[in-house]
């Protein structure tokens, strides 16, 4: 069974600094998708960034980038120039559409605190 592990329950960073959130996963599939979602106090899950496993190039979205290491099954999120609005829970998630399996499998989350 696929699993997603986030080993950092909480991280803090000074405003304008860079922070990296860690995520590892376990799967026997070769074709899958990885996601980072942000959940602010409003509770709505907001997609931060998405990576297709077949793409070697790491995904980037403005200040957000990932370090995808397929062999190591690692998918970390780097946030550059941290802003107060980045404070939230961050969840790493995995999905494969193989064998009619459409669910997102989630890590336990990392609480990101931004210090002004």
């Amino acid at each position: 069974a696929q699993t997603v592990t986030q080993s950092q329950p909480e991280m803090s960073v000074q405003e304008a600094e860079t922070v990296t959130l860690s995520c590892t996963y376990d799967t026997s599939e070769s074709d899958y998708y990885l996601f980072w979602y942000k959940q602010p106090p409003s509770r709505q899950m907001i997609l931060v960034i998405r990576q297709e496993a077949y793409k070697q190039q790491n995904a980037t979205e403005n200040r957000f980038s990932v370090n995808f290491q397929k062999a190591a099954k690692s998918f970390s999120l780097k946030i550059s120039d941290s802003q107060l609005g980045d404070a939230a829970m961050y969840f790493c998630a995995y999905r494969t559409d193989m064998d009619s399996n459409y669910q997102l499998i989630w890590g336990a989350g990392t609480k990101l605190i931004i210090k002004p």
Binding site: S42, M45, L47, F91, D97, Y102, G107, G109
Partner: protein, 112 residues
């Protein structure tokens, strides 16, 4: 363009009661998934609906059931509520042939 709308926002129920949660998907989306998020944890997949049928189910008992209507909206029903059912219930809509998920703000269910 409305995103995913969930109702109610909060509700409190007594053990043994039944509850119905509702979800209206993002305009143009045809697939609805439900997730349960206990406090301090990541979401757990309950089930997904497409074309008014349950397409996949997670590891949840039969007390959890759902429905999808012709307009793609969906309901989640939970019977014989237990204290452990207290959680945030998230609805996510998507297109069956891929693309991203759009989440609602969830329904906070408290069972007392």
């Amino acid at each position: 363009d409305a995103g995913v709308t969930q109702s109610p926002t909060h509700l409190i129920k007594t053990r043994g009661q039944q509850v119905t949660l509702r979800c209206s998907p993002k305009s143009g989306h045809d697939t609805v998934s439900w997730y349960q998020q206990a406090l301090g944890q990541g979401p757990q997949f309950i089930f997904q609906y497409y074309e008014e049928e349950e397409r996949q189910r997670g590891n949840f008992p039969d007390r959890f059931s759902g429905h999808q209507f012709p307009n793609y909206s969906s309901e989640l029903n939970v019977n014989a509520l237990l204290l452990g059912d207290s959680a945030l219930y998230l609805c996510a809509s998507s297109l069956v042939f891929g693309g991203g998920y759009t989440f609602g703000s969830g329904t906070r269910l408290t069972v007392v």
